[in-house]
């Protein structure tokens, strides 16, 4: 697919594709349909994440990577899930 072709320059392209394929399948078939008790694609994620940590060259992206980790690991109050409100309008 084009996305892969375009990203050949990135050393993590294949690991990313493997992770995204796995994630998309898990999300469609399980998580979004109510089976959220088990995290999947963990191995794919760890390989991909390790590659990013090693190879991400762009300094802005590196900074974003560090911030992203910190952001998800702190207690998140910035996001609301007030779905009822949104759906009711």
């Amino acid at each position: 697919m084009g996305a892969k072709a375009r990203s050949y320059a990135s050393p993590c392209a294949q690991l990313r594709a493997a992770y995204h394929d796995c994630f998309n399948r898990w999300y469609s078939e399980k998580f979004s349909k109510g089976q959220w008790d088990k995290e999947e694609c963990v191995e794919e994620w760890e390989k991909y994440r390790a590659c990013l940590a090693q190879h991400l060259e762009d300094k802005h992206l590196r900074r974003l990577l560090v911030e992203a980790d910190a952001g998800l690991n702190k207690n998140d109050s910035s996001h609301s899930t007030d779905s009822n409100k949104a759906a009711g309008e």
Partner: protein, 242 residues
């Protein structure tokens, strides 16, 4: 100095399919969203007890061609800008919220696009309501920062211009996800689909202030056949002089 834009769209697909398509939006259709040059998942976290999934991705966007003087100054025809996308999906409540912000030059301009996908109240099991708010906040400018700001403006413009395309992409991905699922399981009872009410409502955009240099002063209507985007810019006072 804030500009805000709102839009809504109704997908005639169930919530799980539309949100699955949303995850694939930037990675499955590179030809359509060609301004997106790279997408990486930077972090993810699942709360298995509550069914809440969080993820952070970087989206690298190529700006449209820069104005001549600017491209001479910078030495490039266009630039890459990084955006950060934070997503929270609550599978139990069937809500997905996506916030995209610019990741660079935030001291000059802040662009935030906040999107939600929820089951449509009229037919929660078959339709999905999409709501999106975009706000652009420009900082007061010095002569020096004006240049950097223009760069980021160009990226923001590109991003908004592709909003309508993004919806088309999601519609298309939904179709093939639907084809996939109906080939594996019998899709019964989908033939009769009533028309949704209150579709494509226009939400008046609000605008608290104006800056002469803020981007995107234009109105767009009927960008896609089923969607209406209203962009209202302008307003009075408070901004800096021309």
């Amino acid at each position: 100095m804030v500009r805000a834009y709102k839009q809504e769209h109704v997908y005639r697909h169930p919530w799980d399919r539309v949100t699955a398509a949303s995850w694939r939006k930037f990675t499955d259709s590179p030809a359509v969203l060609s301004h997106v040059t790279d997408v990486h998942t930077l972090a993810r976290r699942l709360d298995p007890g509550g069914g809440i999934l969080r993820a952070t991705r970087s989206i690298t966007v190529r700006s449209p061609q820069l104005p001549f003087l600017l491209s001479r100054l910078i030495g490039q025809d266009s630039v890459l800008c990084h955006c950060v996308e934070s997503t929270v999906v609550d599978a139990q409540a069937r809500s997905m919220e996506i916030v995209i912000r610019n990741g660079s030059l935030r001291n000059l301009i802040e662009v935030e696009e906040r999107s939600r996908y929820n089951p449509h109240p009229a037919d929660p099991d078959r339709w999905t309501m999409f709501q999106q708010e975009t706000s652009i906040r420009c900082r007061p400018l010095s002569a020096l920062t004006a240049i950097a700001e223009k760069v980021e403006q160009r990226c923001a413009e590109r991003f908004l211009q592709n909003s309508a395309k993004g919806r088309e992409v999601i519609e298309r991905i939904c179709k093939y996800l639907e084809a996939d699922s109906s080939s594996t399981s019998a899709a019964a009872g989908r033939e009769k689909v009533p028309e949704p009410e209150g579709e494509d409502e226009i939400e008046a955009a609000h605008d608290q202030d104006k800056s002469p240099r803020c981007p995107l002063r234009r109105k767009k209507k009927n960008m896609a056949s089923e969607s209406v985007t209203t962009i209202v810019a302008g307003g009075v006072g408070g901004g800096e002089p021309h």
